[in-house]
């Protein structure tokens, strides 16, 4: 009994430590944003937020720029997520279920794209986008992000589909289901946790993406928040509290999306667990 209690205590402590490590940067951003100038560089840093400094958030949101950046980020992240999953499911399905010449090579090429740093792709993509008039548009940026994230989405979903017994599809076909219905009605619900996981990957990638966004977008009103925040960093000075306040606001939608998607990951994993 005593050993059980010690084990439980240790587990709780471990969870709290992990939680602390994960949440601390967010907390520290808040504390820094809500620090007075005097506290900012004090020998003993302030450990609790000074809520009398809340005005920095109002200041940050003041001219509507930040709200515009966040909206752009949301559109880019949502567009990237929807498109990469929309294309990733059939691609993953094809790689999993169909046999065709060069399949192994295609899988290898998809894997290879994940080893290329984004910076290497900027110049060729820029030239391509220029030719297709996709520069300075959120749509273009969504496509660039999808191009980068789609391979990993497809490979994850392929792995998930690999794990579904073919007998389930055959049974559906016997019941008269067409190929598309087999994919959407049989496979998709079964791989929901993987879809949720890839949605998180796609959303986070697009939400945080900087290199493509800073190069492909010229109009300030079209910049996402990742670039907008960097605009605060000046050559000779940076308003640290404002940067931290905006960065804090920038993290919240991503955290909210993760919490939302996480529910589906867990729901998918436990679905059917109680059926006999």
């Amino acid at each position: 009994m005593r050993r059980l209690r010690i084990g439980l205590t240790l587990r709780i402590v471990a969870v709290l430590v992990v939680l602390g490590v994960a949440a601390f940067p967010l907390y520290w951003m808040l504390v820094t944003a809500l620090s007075s100038n005097a506290d900012l560089f004090a020998e003993r840093p302030r450990l609790l937020p000074d809520f009398s400094q809340l005005g920095v958030f109002v200041e940050g949101l003041g001219d509507g720029k930040v709200a515009g950046w966040l909206l752009n980020s949301l559109l880019i992240a949502a567009g990237t997520t929807v498109l990469s999953i929309g294309l990733g499911i059939p691609l993953g399905y094809a790689l999993s279920r169909f046999s065709f010449r060069g399949k192994a090579l295609l899988t290898l090429v998809l894997l290879f794209t994940q080893m290329l740093p984004e910076a290497l792709m900027v110049v060729p993509l820029f030239s391509l986008f220029r030719r297709f008039n996709l520069l300075d548009s959120l749509g273009g940026l969504i496509l660039a992000n999808v191009a980068f994230v789609l391979p990993i989405v497809a490979l994850i979903l392929k792995g998930a589909i690999d794990g579904i017994p073919r007998e389930l599809e055959e049974a559906a076909r016997v019941d008269g289901a067409r190929p598309l219905a087999v994919l959407t009605r049989v496979n998709v619900p079964l791989i929901a946790p993987s879809i949720a996981a890839t949605a998180v990957i796609s959303f986070f990638h697009a939400w945080n993406e900087y290199v493509f966004a800073v190069t492909f977008i010229f109009t300030p009103e079209k910049q996402p928040a990742s670039v907008g925040i960097a605009n605060f960093i000046g050559e000779l000075g940076t308003p640290i509290q404002t940067v931290m306040a905006v960065a804090f606001m920038f993290t919240l939608p991503a955290v909210a999306f993760y919490l939302f998607a996480q529910k589906y990951v867990v729901a998918g994993m436990t679905a059917g667990a109680v059926k006999g």
Binding site: A78, A192, V214, L236
Partner: protein, 415 residues
């Protein structure tokens, strides 16, 4: 069943957002002439500076009010990746119409043919340009830029902490050491590879201030004894822990504004930026107290993008900027920096900033932070030098070996 409905509604909502994004994104930006008005963009990292940025934007508005056929807007390109972003855009035939470059990027861009020659666009004979900085903007008789800002490096010091500024290197180190206590540091400079361009600007003062130079015009002299002496001084200060190690420029400049840093070597543009961060800080400026009176200068030319479809409109802006009244306004915005032409400091600005003559007196001994004779290769040489110097700072290698290695690697690069 209920779950299915929820999922469908989520998918539908996400799809609508995605389609909306694509549609919204499909609309590309307005560019070029619109109803007879040429719309041009001007990219300058200075727009992000506290104090100077908003004033520069107002200055652009004054131009817009004075024109009926040309309108200029500030292109927001973040400072940390300014050169890389703009050069990528220009290299692909896009980018802002007007750009304020720092010298290394200016040299690289003009060498690559990305900058439009200005000889046919701006008649510089009409203006009294400052000769010393201007000479670096003409390559083989072709003018590629006009000085937007020329700013000499000097020693900024907190006048409350340091009543009498040091005049020798020994006094300088002694002052830095005596001030470093608790949360106050005697000095601050850049010392991380993440701030490569900034480290280059900072070490330039140590190298030239100790009689060194990066080249003799024909060969690189990175590992010369004088360079080693200057960089050893830089490293000694780092080792003495009189600087906030690890703090980036944004942080330690804010610390200076808050009275937590005693001294900093910086350029004239820093005056307005510091006042923008703390109008109550009592600070002053003196020449850098190193053995040789030679220091870096930020030369920031304004150039026209070769790929611009509105070169004439861009030139209209440059001509407007060169008008005497607009030069005076620009100079007051930029603080203690100089502008393209010879202007007189107003009595009001001399009263407000009595140390302005210190900066003006350094013009003849200030040099742009490029490697003479290897101008276009400066960004590459900078990378090699900074990487090796930082390796020495971090104790991975001794400084002499680091400089020998930098010399060898840079020589390979410029072959």
């Amino acid at each position: 069943m209920k779950k299915h409905r929820v999922r469908r509604s989520i998918v539908a909502t996400s799809s609508i957002i995605g389609v909306a994004a694509l549609l919204l994104g499909g609309c590309t930006a307005d560019g070029g002439a619109d109803g007879g008005v040429a719309k041009i963009t001007f990219a300058a990292s200075t727009f992000g500076d506290p104090g100077r940025g908003p004033l520069l934007t107002q200055w652009l508005e004054e131009f817009n009010k004075s024109q009926s056929e040309v309108q200029v807007t500030a292109a927001a390109v973040p400072y940390p990746t300014f050169g890389q972003t703009v050069l990528t855009q220009m290299g692909s035939g896009q980018g802002p119409d007007l750009i304020r470059f720092d010298m290394p990027e200016f040299e690289a861009a003009s060498d690559a043919g990305l900058v439009a020659p200005l000889d046919d666009l701006v008649d510089v004979g009409k203006y009294t340009l400052l000769k010393q900085p201007d000479q670096f903007l003409v390559h083989d008789g072709v003018r590629h830029g006009i000085i937007f800002e020329a700013s000499n490096y000097a020693m900024f010091y907190n006048a409350d902490l340091i009543p009498k500024p040091p005049t020798t290197y020994e006094e300088f180190t002694a002052t830095a050491k005596s001030l470093t206590k608790g949360d106050v540091f005697g000095l601050a400079f850049r010392q991380t590879e993440a701030e490569e361009a900034g480290v280059w600007q900072d070490i330039f003062n140590y190298v030239y201030g100790f009689g060194g130079k990066w080249s003799d015009g024909k060969n690189l002299t990175i590992n010369s004894p004088d360079n080693l002496k200057g960089l050893q001084a830089y490293k000694d200060l780092y080792d003495a822990k009189v600087i906030p190690r690890g703090a980036d420029a944004a942080t330690f400049r804010r610390m200076f504004a808050e009275g937590k840093v005693g001294m900093e070597l910086n350029n004239g543009g820093y005056v307005t930026a510091t006042r923008g961060q703390n109008p109550n800080l009592k600070f002053s400026v003196a020449p850098i107290p190193f053995p040789v009176r030679s220091q870096g200068a930020i030369l920031a030319p304004i150039v026209v993008n070769e790929a611009s479809e509105e070169k004439e409109a861009a030139a209209t802006f440059i001509r407007w900027a060169l008008e005497p009244a607009n030069q005076v306004k620009l100079q007051e915005i930029l603080g203690a920096s100089s502008v393209a032409t010879v202007t007189e400091r107003s009595a009001a600005s001399l009263t407000k900033t009595p140390f302005l003559p210190v900066f003006d007196g350094l013009t003849e001994s200030s040099l742009p932070q490029i490697v003479l004779g290897f101008e276009a290769k400066t960004p590459d040489i900078r990378k090699v030098v900074v990487q090796n110097v930082i390796a020495a700072l971090q104790g991975q290698v001794d400084l002499k070996t680091a400089l020998d290695r930098a010399q060898q690697q840079a020589t390979e690069l410029v072959k």
